[in-house]
């Protein structure tokens, strides 16, 4: 029972960060209909930012997100304005090639600048944990989960209550109609990509005290983000939140009951089952 609870709780905590990665990707997809294959690389850029803020200026990774978030927002907005806006509405394969290319430039650029060495960010609490009824809870993971929950809540509020948030949702629902209603869809796209990038960067910052950092780290997370987004329903933020936590838990429990080598299989079987019974994803609406 302890083992089950332990894996459930670690799964939920890790899943929280997955959710953040998935939400970023789903916002970008929702607004632009572009699958961002550079998403993991944005996360990697966030990790490097966090690492250097910590080693050079001694800023705690969890506090550094107040710097990383706006910077990543600007970076994402820049990428959207300069590159992605040009290919909205063009062939999907061109969009895929563009985002993959952007990811390659990022990872190889970082490798050129900082070498391929693994970077380990060790804070005083990096491997600390506390015990509740025999279940060990990782301190950094718990903090990052709390921050994720906070960010997600603010994001909901922003998208539901503010004018800009509503404009973004309108653009996501129907780009042309939104444009006819006087919404500047190009601007909304910039904001959406900025948001997506800043969420990816934040996720990077949040996992950097417990994970390791290297230029190619992004690819693992791109795939994960993609699975989470499709599982949750493409474009659905609630779906991405659910999907992230579900994947975290499936990995964790699959690792224990089927063996660690099988946990990916468990995740993908779950993924296939969802697609089989609900092709639009958990929270997705099937649109014609």
């Amino acid at each position: 029972m302890t083992i089950f609870l332990q894996s459930l709780i670690s799964g939920i905590l890790v899943g929280g960060v997955y959710a953040l990665i998935g939400i970023g990707l789903t916002i970008i997809f929702g607004v632009m209909r572009v699958i961002n294959f550079a998403h993991g690389d944005l996360l990697m850029v966030g990790m490097y930012g966090t690492f250097y803020l910590f080693t050079l200026f001694n800023i705690d990774p969890f506090i550094s997100i107040v710097i990383t978030m706006p910077l990543m927002f600007l970076y994402g907005g820049f990428l959207q304005k300069v590159f992605i806006n040009r290919i909205i509405g063009s062939l999907p394969q061109n969009q895929i090639l563009l985002t993959i290319g952007m990811g390659l430039v990022m990872s190889n650029g970082i490798m050129l600048a900082f070498t391929s060495d693994y970077k380990i960010l060790s804070t005083t609490y990096s491997s600390s944990s506390f015990d509740i009824l025999g279940i060990s809870i990782s301190t950094p993971l718990l903090i990052s989960f709390a921050i994720t929950a906070g960010i997600t809540a603010v994001l909901y509020w922003f998208l539901l209550k503010t004018d800009t948030g509503q404009a973004i949702r309108a653009t996501a629902q129907d780009r042309e109609a939104a444009q006819l209603m006087g919404i500047n869809v190009k601007r909304m796209s910039i904001i959406a990509f900025g948001l997506g990038a800043s969420l990816a960067g934040t996720a990077g910052a949040l996992i950097s005290p417990t994970y390791y950092i290297f230029p190619q780290v992004g690819s693992t997370f791109t795939l994960k983000a993609f699975v989470i987004t499709v599982l949750g329903g493409m474009g659905s933020i609630v779906g991405a939140t659910l999907g992230g936590i579900l994947i975290g838990v499936a990995e964790s429990i699959g690792g224990v009951y089927f063996g660690s080598g099988w946990k990916e299989v468990v995740v993908f079987v779950l993924f296939l089952l969802v697609l089989l019974f609900k092709p639009s994803g958990l929270m997705g609406k099937s649109n014609a």
Binding site: T2, I3, Q6, S7, S10, G11, V14, V17, M111, T115, S116, D117, Y118, I120, S122, S126, S127, S128, S129, S136, S138, I207, T210, Y211, Y212, F214, Q216, T220, G248, E251, S252, I253, G255, V256, G259, S260, G261, K263, E264
Partner: protein, 385 residues
């Protein structure tokens, strides 16, 4: 008439080494220069760089053909084919990882190009009766045996948990550990193979903790070693000893993480303070040149390049001759005595003496076998700070 032949022979004998020394040799080098194993690959590259300097001092000018396999077997194979056919190299040194080395071992046979594998340890690589493939390093079986020999000489472990990544090196290491544990009467209570690169091993480690193993044996590349130990600390696993089979546990970045690396044992092919000829000097030169400590990967790559280039130069680049000279030769350098022998199903395998090092306050110290000890081992594991 006879005198003439004698004179010619004498002239030839005198001229040959001269000719060999003056001649350029073309040697191929495959390595993981980019990709997930790049941090270890860098050690191999640096080792080879030092070897080229020393070869030059000996009058051997090596033209190095360098190829990056990014840690992928198919790229390794392509690199081998290119070097063997287009570049027409005399011999090839590399690649780093077991999966790549295993993939190209048979190509050496096909192209009749001598291949010297510096460090890839999967047992099967030299167990396929391949005539053109040579291996300098010990095998994963030796990684496991030396660690378990040490553990049983220091304590009385009864149970062992094995965690490995599901790669060629990882599974081969785990299998060896399981076999040898059986021979030593140590019961395997948990076996976990994981896919590398996952951020969370906590559930696996919790399962292992519940089995209360005396020994925890791990086979992992670079950064997963750090994650495994970090999360072991979180979960609070306290066996008699943590045994790391080389790779990630032997790296400098792992040792630097003092909170989690302290007292972890690691089997290794080489240490900076071992008394093999030139080893200490190599260590010092490496630190001076690259600003960090070399790992055993650097030493094996250095020695492999030295052996391959010298042999190739002496044989004037003739591949059949190089193979013969590798097979019959004997060396004594920074990796100790090297001889490519056939034994216990192995072909062209150097019977290399493994060492065990323990990280004590951020520094790898040689602690086993007694003949090579620099510091006393700390056993059993004193618990987490």
């Amino acid at each position: 008439m006879f005198g003439k032949i004698q004179a010619t022979a004498l002239a030839l004998i005198l001229a040959l080494p001269m000719a060999a020394q003056a001649a350029k040799v073309k040697i191929g080098f495959v390595n993981s220069i980019t990709g997930p194993e790049a941090p270890i690959g860098e050690n191999l590259t640096n080792g080879v760089t030092l070897a080229l300097e020393d070869l030059k001092k000996k009058g051997i000018d090596v033209e190095l053909v360098k190829e990056d396999d990014t840690g992928k077997p198919e790229k390794s194979m392509a690199a081998f084919e290119k070097m063997a056919t287009r570049d027409k190299v005399a011999g090839i040194v590399g690649p780093y990882s077991s999966k790549c080395a295993n993939a190209i071992a048979k190509l050496a046979e096909k192209y009749k190009t001598p291949l010297l594998i510096p460090v890839a340890s999967k047992e099967e690589i030299t167990r396929q009766s391949l005539k053109w493939t040579f291996r300098l390093s010990a095998t994963t079986y030796d990684y496991a045996t030396i660690l378990l020999d040490m553990a049983t000489s220091l304590g009385k472990p009864k149970t062992i948990a094995i965690i490995n990544e599901n790669t060629d090196f990882g599974t081969s290491g785990a299998k060896s550990a399981k076999d040898y544990a059986g021979k030593k009467g140590i019961r395997v209570v948990a076996e976990e193979a994981y896919a590398p690169g996952s951020p969370d091993y906590r559930s696996t480690l919790t399962k292992i903790k519940s089995k209360k193993p005396d020994l925890v044996f791990m086979v992992s590349y670079v950064a997963d070693a750090i994650l495994l130990m970090r999360q072991s600390r979180e979960i609070g696993i306290t066996p008699q000893a943590f045994l790391g089979a080389g790779a990630g546990f032997a790296t400098v970045s792992f040792a630097k993480e003092k909170a989690i690396s302290n007292n972890v044992f690691s089997s290794t092919q080489w240490t900076g303070d071992v008394n093999w000829p030139g080893a200490k000097d190599f260590n010092a030169r490496y630190i001076a040149k690259f600003g960090k400590e070399p790992t055993y990967h650097a030493a094996t790559a250095y020695e492999s390049m030295m052996i391959m280039a010298e042999t190739a130069a002496k044989a004037g680049g003739n591949q059949e001759k190089i193979r013969g000279a590798l097979k019959g030769g004997k060396w004594n350098g920074i990796m100790g005595e090297v001889k490519f022998a056939d034994y216990e199903g192995y072909t062209n395998q150097n019977k290399h003496q493994m060492l065990v090092e323990q990280i004590q306050n951020g520094i790898h110290q040689t602690v086993y076998p007694p003949k090579y000890v620099s510091k006393k081992p700390v056993y059993p594991f004193p618990g987490w700070k």
